[in-house]
Chain length 424, copies 4
């Protein structure tokens, strides 16, 4: 069916339906968080209208977190638009402080932040570990940008340069990717808003108002020090309370297992209900080396809807492992999960495995799908690319040393926890 995709694209182009853009339409978008967001120019408007970008409407930002926080259905589309909005604010603040940013750089920053996550697959991280292998979503984002750059006659060149960290002005890259980048300023605020976990709320406005540039380094002015502390703590809280919430964690791991099992069956030639895009990734082994232009095209068709609709159907597949795992997701009737600071003992794991084999009447080779353990890790602050505080004398200081009391150095130690899942 995949050949059909190429043919159809051609046909649609013929009818002028694919790329025809209405001028002056939809220049303003509503955002429950920021109010109105203005799209600054027609190039950016056209990028947003492109099917590659429209696909982000069908990828949720937080994967299965909506199984815990039912309000968390916001999409990567909205997040990317929000980032563009904050980027414009940041540029305004920096210019007000006499940091020279050209019109071209402004545009490039907006485009780079808009597209920084375009390579995310359906249900984001889950897919990175099961469908494609050995290629990160950042690398795929870059492939998308390069493809768009062709279509838009090189107008994305500077954006790509910044995104790749190849531009000589370091702070431009830091706005896109660092421990206090625009991405984090939007997603923490947005995720906190939609989940209703108000404690994760950060003051993006204040953090941006405190930004400055010193020796090409993006820095925070001294009086913003408490806001940075607060930001780091809020992020840490969101990690443990939301992103690594045990119900979301178990759901995501079951999803990975569903896809692993499906791929295993596909390799054996078993037939599986799947959209053509999902079919492509199930029946081919895709990695960095063989990620061709066609792969990119197929990737651009794949979103949450392909995956979840397939899983819904697999509930009725004759393979019991696939069926049971799929059912768990659809009915939100998940495995039990335990989390603790220490590793689980071998004997404890073995006991759980034996119980599961008996209870589900499965083979020993299949038990890994239902009983598994893993470690999770979060490092609240990373010393390697520090957040710099600009003191009143114009000196830079790593936030972990600038803070007068709070032992931020402690935040640099990664927290490691262990979890085990098994049938109820």
């Amino acid at each position: 069916m995949s050949r059909n995709i190429v043919l159809c694209s051609y046909r649609l182009k013929k009818f002028n339906l694919l790329n025809k853009k209405t001028p002056n339409k939809l220049k303003i978008l509503n955002d429950p968080i920021y109010g109105f967001i203005q799209i600054p120019n027609s190039l950016i408007f056209d990028i947003i209208e492109h099917p590659y970008f429209q696909r982000l409407r069908r990828i949720t930002q937080m994967g299965f977190s909506n199984l815990v926080y039912p309000g968390a259905n916001h999409t990567r589309f909205h997040h990317a638009i929000g980032c563009m909005h904050l980027m414009q604010k940041a540029i305004g603040v920096l210019r007000f402080k006499q940091v020279a940013i050209s019109k071209e750089e402004e545009n490039a920053l907006c485009i780079a932040i808009l597209l920084h996550d375009i390579g995310h697959g359906a249900f984001s991280h889950a897919l990175e570990n099961s469908i494609v292998s050995g290629i990160s979503h950042e690398e795929i984002s870059l492939k998308f940008m390069k493809k768009l750059n062709e279509e838009f006659n090189g107008e994305l060149t500077l954006a790509i340069e910044i995104f790749e960290g190849k531009n000589s002005r370091k702070f431009l890259y830091q706005l896109i990717s660092s421990q206090l980048d625009i991405d984090r300023l939007d997603y923490l605020k947005r995720d906190s808003f939609y989940t209703g976990v108000t404690e994760g709320n950060i003051s993006s406005d204040r953090l941006i108002a405190m930004m400055n540039v010193k020796d090409d380094e993006l820095v925070i002015e001294q009086k913003g020090i408490y806001s940075v502390e607060k930001f780091l703590i809020a992020r840490r809280l969101m990690y443990w309370q939301v992103y690594l919430h045990k119900t979301g964690l178990v759901a995501e791991n079951i999803l990975v297992n569903v896809l692993r099992r499906a791929k295993e069956l596909a390799e054996k030639g078993v037939e599986l209900y799947a959209s053509s895009a999902l079919h492509y990734f199930l029946y081919n082994q895709i990695n960095k080396q063989n990620f061709t232009e066609k792969t990119l095209e197929m990737f651009s068709k794949l979103d949450d809807y392909d995956v979840l609709s397939a899983i819904k159907e697999w509930v009725y597949h004759k393979d019991e492992v696939l069926s049971l795992l799929s059912k768990m997701i659809v009915d939100r009737n998940l495995l039990r999960i335990e989390i603790q600071q220490e590793n689980f003992t071998e004997s404890y794991i073995q006991k759980k495995r034996e119980k599961a084999i008996k209870k589900l009447n499965i083979k020993e080779t299949e038990v890994d799908y239902f009983v598994f353990h893993q470690e999770i890790k979060n490092q609240a602050y990373n010393l390697k690319a520090p957040i710099y505080i600009l003191n009143k004398k114009g000196k830079l200081k790593d936030i972990s040393k600038a803070s007068d009391q709070l032992n931020l150095q402690a935040l640099t130690n990664p927290v490691i926890k262990h979890f085990i899942c098994y049938p109820k």
Copy 2:
């Protein structure tokens, strides 16, 4: 494939995975609007856990409105939970005012409002007009309730009685369904919140605080009169600015046409990519008369994911009509729409049809899929089941007469507009 569904359900039951409930789990849900929502008891907890109800997680409240308002991805699941929350508040207020409401009635009200929309199909209203015919979502809701009542050993009997308007205490029914019911109090607030159209925001809290019961009639106390006015105006605003926004309108109509076309092809025996549930409704003519228990089971498997994932695949179908329409939705590259107060003239419509035939190179019999016109109508206030204001002397007055100035009677005239869609 549908037989498989039944078999699988059996198998899952055997493994004790279907109905096993963990006690004391998830008694509290986060809501960005109301904060914490408490689930009052284990019966209601079990209803929420039931696959019928969990399906509402996969049906958006506002269909394609997210194409206009990207924040509007909230689900019927969350709306139903929100309704339950407001219902508990309303019961608290009424009891405080000495209106006797028994524990059983409280429970029944919560269940009835929780399930009032469970019969909604994927993309809600669109499906009512294309997939099934001659049966409303309320009737399907009732079928679900009766089915659940069997499973829960009659514990939903009073809820059903109230939902059907058969209970002698009229106000119980009015809390579920009237011009100022709990449903509206939640959805206006929720839709306004998620779209970011702050003007549609209503004070559910204040309206509930002003509720009372007089002669078994749900009424609003006199000092709430401005809040009711405001509520009616906000609802009117939401209709024209959001629910009937032209982009959402055209998308929804294209969706209906996609499904109509798919059904037409199905009748001719053309093969279509579809989940088993969608397949069932495409290849069978379902109406009130032949809506069996099996139909209900199939309906309970059908959600937004079945429909949108099929449409994504149909983009590559060899039928050009189906392919073009599907592509429009997926890439958000829609037909043009014009809205006006008067009817469109026959000659204008004819001109658009001829242009479309030529441009898209389609047959005369196919042009209806791309050029269509219709009227839309909204009545802000309906005199037949009035909202009563309780004045200080204990008398009831229809709000349209109680308001001292605002000519609310004008709101009883339905506003009618006409739209036409055609290719750009």
Copy 3:
């Protein structure tokens, strides 16, 4: 003591304490409603720092409404700053739509809106009716502006021209004063926010986004029509539910009576505790004719603190009328109030008077202080200076005719109510 004021001002000037401004200080202000508000330039910064403007920190926006809505303690200072913020937004929107607004006009608009209310007295309207007579707060605002214009070497000239409606570009004036001016856009939002009456909330952002200029007339684009309707209804709601709330109404009227009584006693030479500024207005009859520069200086010293602290002391004054009225305010133990649509009958009023005389043991000549009746009136929309809607063909239409259904014409009829106050 008033001579002392002049001497002191001199002394303070000598010490360079009066007008010395620190550069670069406090360029950003926090607003719970809008987030950060930036002060655009040092002229405006200096105006804000001027004692005339700082006085607005000590005048509440809503007078005694905080007796009903305890959160409503926001000041005229904050309102004026908020107006300036919205004005900057409006200017941005209009320029985006190609309406030419020069740098000087921008500055003048910001200054004019910042100072539009600077002539408000303590407890606002109450004082207009009791302390000074025959001069409106707008006239006093103008006097302040002219005085500041002298101090700032003519830099306020254009602002004054616009404020007086003498500038040839009509829309500049309309931004300052019309049925949809920036003043209303801020105060409705602000008052709704601080009172917690969420229904009065309006979308200032959206209304501003819909602004345009046609033939020098400030207009709203067609798609903003529902927002204007909503704005008019919200304003009407705020009037009846908040601004004319009966408790606030009775408190304000008692305040007027307190001041009337104090003035009556002052005329008789009775000694009264009062600050020098309040003393000046109690013991002199100030009207338009004798409102000298010195009067203005005295006026600039008078705020809520002078009035309320005097009233607190008057509780212990030997004049029983003054004492009783003062006590009512301080302890929030007010007169009873009745409101109705019809006039109160003479006999009803007489009965209340007689009861009061007996109960309070007062003279017949004093009963007017405790028993009084009055009419209140609100016109939700005024046809004389209409809000114009700009339709898609570029034609202007009065909103009351442009609205497709809501009978806005009804809003042009003033609503009149009657109230009577008497001792409990």
Copy 4:
């Protein structure tokens, strides 16, 4: 004049104006933060109506912080009402978790929290250090409670017992006063809301939902650990960014000096404009020993209005020190302030003193009013009365040890800073 107060109170009682309460009035209060707040019963309603409590309407919660954050004009009245609201929620949560709390205890908790701050003087802490000496506001609160207990025939006895920490159930006291008491849960949320410093916002709701009681100790359940961390960090942020903001700090210190100078003058017999209540505290030396019932009565008359209106008048006093200091406050033209971690050197201080003497032309004995230095200190977490975390095995752990990573122990070290003020 003070004798007059007693006489007048008598006269007002005679007219039945003082204590007459209208039944069923104002049972609901609006709060922009929590929505509606219900007053639970008529005893509490009567306490709120009492002049002692009404006085809190005239005392701002945050003193001169509104000079920095212009939205921060909320009163102690509103804070106390908000506390009562949260207390009701906390009681609901604890009862839901099977902690027995009797109707009497519920009532006592509400009263105790409502009155916990009633002893605060005008501009709160400033007055404690200048007007009265050697008596804390908690001690004065207790005096007020005991007086009210007499008036209300002993109905406050249990509330007083809990407030004094004499009740055997420790957690009742901890709800009123501990490191995670209801007071803090409201004021952090409220101050953050009104200042617009969104980062200080805490989730009172979640913290309350996580409360439990174990061995009579108020504890937080394990999964609330991140919320407690966040709460401690937010509180720390509010301290340094808001409560100890340098502009507020200098204003408060000038206020203390104004009052110190006034008192000094009073002792010398110099005449000062002052209300009778302020007069009493200026011309008498009040301490713990001579704080009589009459003192309490006088204290109950003293609020922000007495103090600020006097200062406004003192601008024109012939004593130059008093005049200059007063003027600084009124026009918000303050002393310069420097803050640093180290102590200021003697020579630096001496230099500033000499400059000030010369610049202001004052005597050496007066320079302390204009040049002064001090240390400020904040301890984010106190080990002595720890916040306990209840782990899943039912064990209690001090939060500073329970936190898995964040070095909360560091928060136990008090942060000390030094500031110096001197003329610009």
